[in-house]
């Protein structure tokens, strides 16, 4: 746990900015800094990325303080290299432009980067929050209009919360079988 609320806010903002780099979304309010606003529609943050990362079951929770510090360190170094002055009122990574965040995260996730594994973990869970709402029951997430499931157009279940697709086939033969198909239906 971060020692105080200011630290906690700093961590949350930094992780939000990371998740927003993975699946970007629209700002929650005009003065939203963590979400860069690089995309219309909601992204990973609104989809629950921070909730998922902070779920003990995910196994990353103990790393989040450290990753936040390291990420902000990389952001400061990047800004220095580029000669950019960062807004000092917010965490350095949050202060980067969306394109700079994307390039930095791209470097961290690239094969060969010594910290790659940790960043991949963060990216996977950010993605998963958007694609599957893994911190919620899927039926509830759909009912609540979860942005990721809505974006995929994930079909709703039957009334009992289970999925069935009575219509599933064109019921047409589309191609010839391979000439060496055996009686068991296998390749010869």
């Amino acid at each position: 746990m971060p020692p105080d609320n200011a630290e906690r806010r700093r961590r949350t903002m930094t992780l939000e900015a990371f998740a927003d780099t993975i699946i970007p979304g629209e700002k929650r309010s005009p003065d939203d800094r963590a979400i860069a606003g690089a995309s219309t529609g909601q992204g990973a943050v609104a989809a629950g990325a921070i909730e998922l990362l902070e779920t003990p079951a995910a196994g990353l929770v103990d790393l989040l303080d450290g990753l936040t510090t390291v990420l902000n360190g990389h952001a400061t170094a990047r800004a220095a290299r580029l000669g950019t002055t960062l807004d000092s009122g917010i965490p350095p990574f949050v202060a980067l432009s969306f394109d700079d965040r994307t390039e930095l995260v791209g470097e961290l996730l690239a094969p060969g980067h010594p910290e790659k594994e940790a960043w991949v973990g963060l990216a996977l869970f950010s993605n998963m929050a958007f694609d599957t709402a893994a911190h919620m029951h899927t039926v509830d997430a759909l009912a609540a209009g979860h942005p990721g499931l809505a974006a995929t157009g994930f079909a709703p279940p039957d009334a009992d919360g289970l999925w069935r697709f009575p219509a599933y086939s064109y019921r047409r033969k589309f191609a010839e079988l391979h000439p060496h198909t055996t009686a068991s239906g296998s390749p010869a």
Partner: protein, 550 residues
């Protein structure tokens, strides 16, 4: 005598290799105990839910290694509970492969022809049937139409699915709620239990040691919810040990046992194959799909059906041509991965960097209903090697369930990469023809290559230098330890492996039963199929005496 628990046969793992062995030995009269690290989940507990902690994560194991990630089952029934039930037999040429050793890598006693009766036995037991076009899903139909349009043939794949029960929900990877998928929970395992075998879920085997009459199996019990937590430790003594923890776990248990057992064959934990797997995502242009093939779901939509169905339905076998050189043969199969597994590694066709995350990735996820995934199984080079074993299990567990960091390293050779490249090109040629779709392979940059078909980490063979097991699946230098899971398969199969794994396990049984008899166990070989059919047994009976003698 002390009070240590003992049994005739101890089976480690309850997937294909373990279930086949437990059934035959228990049916023959041996006392059988099975230890399984995962939970025992009943049909009604198989959820349609992506929530962490639902069956979607409870029954899975995803191990990230260096250059290769392995996805497998983690429950009673093993991979059969999470699998897609595509059950083709391996083509003839596979058994003549030379792979990385420059001479035939399969034992001389095994060919497609000699394995055929054993394939029949498993096909009768599950059962496996040929599917027809009426059962092929929209995605399978579209893939078949695209194959045909590019001058290819296409086959509905044989499956172990009861199509009358199947609701085409496409939650197969969470276990089948409707008992339509013929997993081992519906045949070999209940039959084994009916014959007296005992299954203990949430028991993870850590290592083996020796006793004067056989082997001692050391296990820990696993917390039912948080698999990172291990509770009690225990041991069971057995005259025969059957290792069937899967190709990602069996070699690790043996590595950890090496100090106590001594003299592990060099091939334990080497020659791992990912079955040459590769995935491509096509984003289909709905209008072109309609114009080119007249596709119509009856409600104005041409396709938009990625979510609907039952895993792989159609395969393309045109590149399974025995006359082609090794490393250039592969099959293509249409399949479905749910979001999460199936979205994260997909790349944006034609993207400027980044290709698998960011703005453009979000845009293609928005077209998810129009995705069509193809799966390549090619001939890789058996280049995977397991490093020193972790303290417990086969990986360092990160998440409460599912995710772990393993010790495998896999650096694809030029041969393997060649297979991937030509199959990628084939998928592109089929799916992009006349503007049908835009295609990109999944990225290997994130978690390396990936396989749902781990094989060959402890393989059978005639040459002791390159095979850990003899052709009866006995671990070299350790009489009474047998390996019957995917780790015994010598190399990539160019098709889905479960039927071959199970057929090899069936074939190994007369020899294992004989080995048990030799150790004083009162056991007979010759059980019918788990549901009582005897046609398959009739076919294999003439082969039994040869397999039972040494």
């Amino acid at each position: 005598m002390n009070s240590t628990e003992s049994t005739d046969v101890l089976v480690i793992g309850t997937g294909f290799g373990g279930a086949v062995a437990a059934y035959h030995l228990a049916a023959g009269g041996a006392k059988v105990v099975m230890l399984e690290r995962g939970p025992w989940v009943r049909s009604e507990e198989f959820e349609h839910d992506f929530l962490l902690g639902s069956s979607y994560t409870r029954i899975f194991d995803f191990v990230v290694g260096d250059g290769m990630s392995l996805l497998g089952g983690n429950c009673v029934g093993g991979g059969s509970v999470v699998y897609f039930a595509a059950m083709p037999r391996a083509p003839k040429f596979v058994f003549d492969r030379q792979g990385s050793i420059g001479r035939r890598m399969w034992p001389s006693s095994i060919s497609r022809d000699t394995l055929e009766p054993w394939y029949d036995r498993v096909s009768e037991a599950l059962p496996v049937s040929m599917s027809d076009w009426n059962q092929v899903t929209y995605a399978g139909g579209l893939f078949a139409a695209a194959c045909n349009h590019s001058g290819r043939t296409a086959n509905p794949v044989p499956v172990a699915i009861d199509v009358d029960r199947c609701t085409n929900c496409n939650w197969m990877m969470s276990g089948c709620r409707f008992d339509a998928k013929r997993s081992l929970l519906l045949n070999y395992l209940p039959a084994a239990v009916a014959c007296g075998a005992e299954i203990r879920p949430l028991h993870e085997v850590q290592r083996l040691s020796r006793t004067d009459r056989g082997y001692r199996v050391h296990y820990s019990t696993v917390d039912a919810e948080d698999y990172r937590i291990l509770h009690d430790e225990g041991v069971i003594d057995a005259k025969i040990v059957i290792m069937a923890a899967g190709a990602g776990a069996t070699p690790v248990i043996l590595q950890r046992s090496a100090a106590a057992l001594g003299g592990m064959p060099d091939a334990v934990g080497r020659y791992f194959s990912g079955n040459g797997e590769r995935l491509n995502t096509a984003i289909v242009d709905e209008d072109r799909a309609r114009e080119l093939f007249g596709l119509d779901r009856g409600d104005g939509r041409a396709y938009e059906a990625n979510q609907i169905g039952k895993g792989p339905c159609v395969a393309s076998w045109d590149d399974l041509d025995a006359s082609l050189p090794e490393y250039s043969r592969f099959s293509l199969e249409q399949l479905y991965f749910p979001p999460g597994f199936g979205t994260i590694l997909a790349q944006v066709p034609g993207a400027a960097a980044p290709s698998w995350f960011g703005r453009e990735k979000k845009e293609i996820v928005g077209k998810w209903q129009s995705w069509l995934t193809t799966f390549t199984m090619s001939e890789d080079d058996n280049e995977g090697v397991f490093g020193p074993p972790p303290p417990t299990g086969n990986a360092h567990r990160i998440s409460q369930q599912m995710l772990g960091r393993g010790t495998i390293s896999y650096e694809p050779t030029a041969n393997t990469r060649h297979g991937w490249e030509i199959s990628d090109a084939a998928v592109k040629a089929v799916m992009e023809r006349d503007g049908l779709a835009k295609v990109m392979p999944w990225t290997n940059d994130v978690v390396g290559a990936y396989t749902v078909h781990p094989l060959a980490s402890c393989r059978i063979g005639d040459d002791p230098a390159t095979s850990a097991l003899d052709d009866r699946h006995e671990l070299r230098g350790h009489p009474g330890i047998f390996v019957t899971d995917g780790s015994a398969v010598p190399g990539a199969l160019t098709v889905n492996p479960a039927l071959t794994i199970a057929a090899l396990a069936e074939r190994a049984m007369p020899g294992i039963v004989q080995a048990a008899k030799d150790r004083g166990v009162s056991v007979k070989y010759g059980a019918p199929s788990p549901l009582g059919e005897i046609a398959g047994r009739r076919g294999t009976l003439p082969l039994v005496s040869d397999l039972a003698v040494r």
